[in-house]
Symmetry: C6
């Protein structure tokens, strides 16, 4: 991908870190399926499927581990 | 998400940490499916499906790894 | 959950740590499905399903990572 | 489980560590389904199912992470 | 595989690290299914399957943990 | 398994480490299904199934985390 979308793993606080983990999870999908149109069609089905939502939450959890470690867990 | 729901990963004890891991797991779903109504409908099905419950428990386990590390495992 | 069920991640030895990992895995299910009756019904099906048992063992493995790290791997 | 089956996570070498990871994975199943008879029946089906075998290998991989860390990766 | 495709886990920045995680995930598939033709055929189906895309994103997330740790999270 | 197949987790470089992760993933299957014949039959089906290939790549990713950590990420 030619444009820069990930400048750093460092965030100001834990919630921003969680939101970065969301973004990483979505980008993992986008690199595999770059078409906005196809992803849009798929969204309407997986957003109403409990198992897909749980699986999505799992990917976020894994990425959040990475972001949290990068930020030393935002310990003050 | 505009309001603040995750102030810190630090909790007083291990059980509160586990409960924070539950919250993180649910928020991973909520970011993907923001509608309370849709999530409510899905809940009635996955709550009675053993494989969905095991998958949910797995997401909690992953998030608990993060929270536990953040708290240095609540070693006294 | 109002009562205290997780006092600490520290255990006397590795086997007790594994058993605590079992407990954490079950509690991850119980927080999502609090009804003893529903969980009891589900148990009879997943206990005889190989894939469900493998998935359960995976959740235990993830929680055991956390407990083992907390205990510094019970290195003497 | 009343008898002692896990004395330590420390092994002499990496291969014994891998074999301990196998054992941990099987014990995760056994704690959930204690009946030797039921597990024996299930084995004949999942042993010939590619996805079950891959899932089993994943549980071993997770447990091997724990055992390898405990042993400081058997670095000499 | 006889040619060299993985020189190092070190990358200049986080985004390149994410892209290396993508590559590692694809190579994990390629080692198991070396035929470009077969992988090409499969791609057209999994690229339009939401659950396959989420699963792919999960593999990337796991590999990104490794790459991020190798790079000390690109902390400046 | 009586013969020695895993002497060490240390490899000369990252690519050899990835290949060792492949081997660990396969051995996780082989310990559960020792028959070369049965595994050979299964291979022809999962090698042409996208989800099985993604799942295989995930096991490799998990084992690669272990091997990479053992080698201190081949940082020069």
């Amino acid at each position: 991908m030619s444009h820069m979308w990930l400048e750093s793993l460092i965030t100001e606080n834990a919630q921003q870190g969680f939101e970065l983990a969301m973004k990483l999870s979505r980008m993992g999908v986008k690199y595999t399926q770059p078409s906005d149109e196809v992803r849009g069609k798929l969204r309407s089905s997986y957003e109403e499927n409990a198992d897909s939502l749980i699986a999505s939450s799992q990917v976020v959890a894994i990425n959040f581990q990475t972001v949290a470690a990068a930020n030393n867990y935002w310990r003050s």
